[in-house]
Symmetry: C2
Subunit: 591 residues, 2 copies
């Protein structure tokens, strides 16, 4: 049942240089057109498309058989490459200067009419695309996404291999750990009443591998989190996981800069400058109101709390006096853009983002327009404008609140809104940015204790070690996130490698010795046997590929993604199983 004529060339590879060649092509029928007594078929394979001509003069038998051809039929065609007449050249496709006259046609398979056309820019419900994923993947853009993803994986592996990293596979059937997100569980048949957990990440195993002396480990691996799915989350996702021994923050960062440069340059042909800019978490929050700032545009936040103290404007002065903050953004040369109505809309936006209000100052060549101007002495207003770098034509906005965190987060969101709304974002930019010196801990209101911001094995910064017990909230971590265009690509840290520090950390987290050992016993035991200093990073690979491809949905770079309900529309997983299967696993369903 295989083809009798064997493929010699790929459709998309034929050029004028092949003129006169006898070729055998194999692929799918994109279109068939009957025109002037000829049958034209656009034949498509992975490499692209080429026009095949069936002519009764050239080969009557092939021509007659060609009348059976429909869209998406699978063909093998033997023929000869001809230069197209000048008037028929199609500059839109790479093979547009030639066509293949068919000698022989073998219909390898028929096809039903697809539920949607196999081409890009189609308007079709995503659920239909997911159900017929095999047809969706035939579309050139999806094929490109899959191929690109392969190239990214390959580039990552090549770079890490050249740099002495060993790929090691860690288990998928592992142990449920109570910290972190919700686990997917797998009942054990051989050990009744017990369960494996699918890994949320290989974090513990990669640290174990450092204890084992592997020194440089990586893995591209599937991870699982049973969360309620947000728009761009998948229950299973792919992580690039890296860990190194005998390193500090700078070593990990510099290795990863070279990695990212290598991968992006090799897969996109674009140039990436390293080192990337680094800012601290504190700066990121103060300037951008976000721990993953989009630095493709300005609109930086300026602190004017000290000036606010000097005004009669109560919203400002009281915020400043009560330990709060007042911050402004100078939207350069945009005073003309903000009509009364648009200002009102902007104020509403700011409130949506959590601000109690939004003060504004519009500067034209005629002077200041602002409802708050009357509360400012002239020299205070001058100081304010100078601090804001304001010039005629600028439009300034301010948020004040007694809760300083609310000021930065609401303004951070307003900043993003403005960036998009005012079209300030360069879509072609790739702005990589390290955010460093994250807080080690954050206060959990619900649990009334500190929890680890990254995870409980993250090392505090040496400078802050003394604060660990006396002021835990101020301790900074040897942690770093890599941000691309305002999205977190990955994050990691230098880990704690000494038992005594790990024990102090657990104490601060409110863990008893017993609870720590119950939860992480095997790691703590391992740490006793000569653990090197180590650290690493993990990237969300799906998201990295999505960003590099400029996609809007993570599902478009995953071959068989799941819906928001964690279902696969093609295979209809998850599904009911046979009672026998559950019985063997010693479980029953309780609904």
């Amino acid at each position: 049942m295989g083809e009798k004529i064997k493929r010699t060339h790929h459709c998309g590879s034929l050029t004028l240089e092949n003129t006169g060649d006898d070729v055998v092509l194999a692929g799918w029928v994109q279109t068939r057109r009957d025109l002037g007594g000829l049958i034209f078929v656009d034949l498509r394979d992975r490499s692209g498309m080429v026009q095949v001509v069936f002519s009764p003069e050239y080969n009557r038998q092939a021509f007659e058989k060609a009348s059976e051809i429909r869209s998406e039929f699978v063909l093998a065609v033997k023929g000869r490459v001809f230069k197209r007449p000048e008037e028929n050249v199609n500059p839109k496709i790479p093979t547009g200067e030639i066509e293949v006259f068919a000698d022989e046609l073998e219909i390898l398979n028929t096809a039903k009419t697809p539920p949607f056309p196999i081409e890009d820019d189609i308007k079709v419900d995503e659920s239909l695309r997911l159900k017929y994923r095999y047809l969706d993947l035939r579309r050139p853009s999806m094929l490109h996404n899959m191929t690109f993803r392969h190239k990214v994986n390959k580039a990552i592996r090549d770079f890490l291999d050249e740099n002495g990293f060993i790929e090691i596979e860690t288990p998928m059937l592992t142990r449920s750990t109570p910290e972190g997100a919700r686990d997917f569980l797998v009942p054990s048949r051989l050990n009744p009443g017990t369960f494996y957990a699918l890994p949320q990440s290989p974090q513990l195993f990669k640290q174990i591998l450092m204890v084992a002396g592997i020194e440089r480990y990586y893995q591209i691996t599937r991870c699982f989190r049973d969360e309620d799915l947000r728009a761009d989350r998948q229950p299973e996702f792919t992580q690039l996981d890296i860990e190194m021994s005998f390193v500090d923050v700078d070593d990990v960062i510099s290795l990863n800069e070279r990695l990212i440069k290598y991968v992006v340059e090799r897969t996109t042909g674009r140039t990436v400058e390293i080192p990337f800019r680094r800012i601290t978490y504190g700066e990121a929050m103060e300037i951008y109101g976000s721990d993953k700032p989009d630095t493709r545009f300005g609109l930086e936040m300026v602190d004017v709390t000290d000036i606010a103290l000097k005004t009669e404007f109560k919203v400002f002065s009281e915020a400043a006096r009560s330990g709060g903050k007042v911050k402004g953004i100078n939207i350069k040369n945009s005073a003309g853009l903000f009509s009364r109505r648009q200002i009102d809309e902007l104020v509403e936006k700011a409130k949506e983002f959590g601000a109690k209000g939004l003060a504004w100052i519009s500067l034209s060549s005629e002077g200041i327009k602002s409802p708050i101007a009357k509360f400012f002495a002239r020299e205070v207003m001058e100081e304010l404008l100078e601090r804001m770098g304001a010039q005629p034509g600028d439009f300034l906005v301010f948020v004040a609140d007694s809760d300083p965190r609310l000021v930065v987060t609401s303004m951070g969101q307003l900043r993003l809104h403005l960036g998009r709304h005012l079209n300030l974002i360069d879509k072609n930019a790739l702005n990589f940015l390290w955010v460093v010196e994250f807080p080690l801990l954050e206060w959990d209101e619900e649990e009334q204790r500190y929890v680890a911001m990254h995870h409980p094995f993250t090392s505090p910064m040496d400078e802050d070690l003394d604060l660990l017990e006396e002021d835990p909230g101020r301790v900074r971590a040897k942690a770093y996130d890599l941000v691309l265009n305002g999205t977190e690509l990955g994050g990691g840290s230098i880990r704690i490698h000494r038992t005594e520090l790990q024990e102090r950390m657990f104490k601060v987290l409110g863990f008893t010795q017993e609870r720590a050992w119950n939860n992480f016993g095997f790691l703590l035991r391992a740490f006793e046997y000569g653990t090197p200093p180590h650290g690493g990073i993990a990237y969300g690979l799906d998201r990295m590929i999505m960003l590099l491809l400029g996609l809007n949905s993570i599902r478009d770079c995953i071959a068989f993604p799941k819906t928001q309900n964690a279902a696969c529309l093609m295979t209809e997983a998850p599904a009911q199983v046979e009672p026998r299967q559950l019985k063997e696993l010693h479980i029953q369903v309780t609904i």
Copy 2:
């Protein structure tokens, strides 16, 4: 807490050429010896080992600190490389001509005394090794295994990338399919009462990818089978999965020969000749009594059924007359090896393997010695000896039975026994062999129906298509296994790509249309939309690496393997989970 002095060199990389260099090393203490007022430390990292000398004359501070050093402590050492005095040269290690005199010592971490020494050829219970896997992995042989595995993976990926294969990740949370082994199940929280299954292989997805037009797919991926574990099985294992479109058996075989040659030559430095020998399943069974023959030694089986008809020896003649078989093996030049007692033992072995008995003929220069000789006319005996290629000094053994299958399988096992017992196996040989033309179907006594030998999507051979309904047991498949030294490395087939043939196949398997669609509906639907001819192969990668490394256990090439009870002794998975977790998953334990 990071090291203050930064590693400049790796321990195992230092040679005479580094003499006089100032270096910083980091690693683990293999041994510490105090000798003649000096302290000698063998420092080990991933690259190897080097001797570090602490001398009170060279640097008193470092020397004094060195007294704290114990085995497996983690050190950073700054020092200078010196040529060793002639009498101290250690030719056993690559760095044996030099030593490093220490200026500065930083103890990066302490270590408890390991429960077993960190060296090869230790006698230690495997369960202890698995519990302290991080220490076990520090042993040079285990580190080598992990590194080798990485290299194999890398070589596979390089070759397949160069040959146009795209790595595509298929889902881990998928649907339970009723054919095949037992599935691991994962309860769905968001879809109460339903379950995902972990994939036994990406078989259906890779065929879907061919429908999707990917043409050349590969993946190195985890697969799961919830079987009662035999010695060398793991509940999760790694598969190299390959699928190609527009190919026939020869294309797949030749691509894979180039792949194997590339991988083995690149990772072992050995030479692999291609093409590999190919034999049919029928020949393999007739000559070796196995579908995965070990061809590193001879002892081929010879059919003498026709001659057996002519003797008075009832065991032979009746076996031959009743549709059975008589087969012999000529153990060359070994008559002297078989004493009466050893012959008795051999007969017992044959019975263990299922034979009813074992006839034998011993040839010496003085003539024939055999309990069955008297039943043979002289010319019949001569014909027998000639058929067997017998010469003085040879020892011949025969099995006869009315069940021909029992003859070949018992003799096949006897052959392996003899090969090992008589030391006929070249341990250094890499005998690759394709076994082709497997039967498509085999009769299942329990279910009283034919079942697919490979899987229900395997294509029959074109020549046998007409037999599919009239004599299903005789239909051969376009299936192939790659065998290395008597172990199956991988197997695959050309798949059925036309709906009508697939439907015939299901009919022969006794599936109603409804059952076929219930079980494989999404694949059958996909097949309707233009499926190209396609086929592929899957390799058990753990086993391949085990064989290439010459290991006895698959667990020695897996970083974190499970025991026969499917447990991880290091993490103590599987384990009980919190009632809250089960409640969220809508299940309860029934024991």
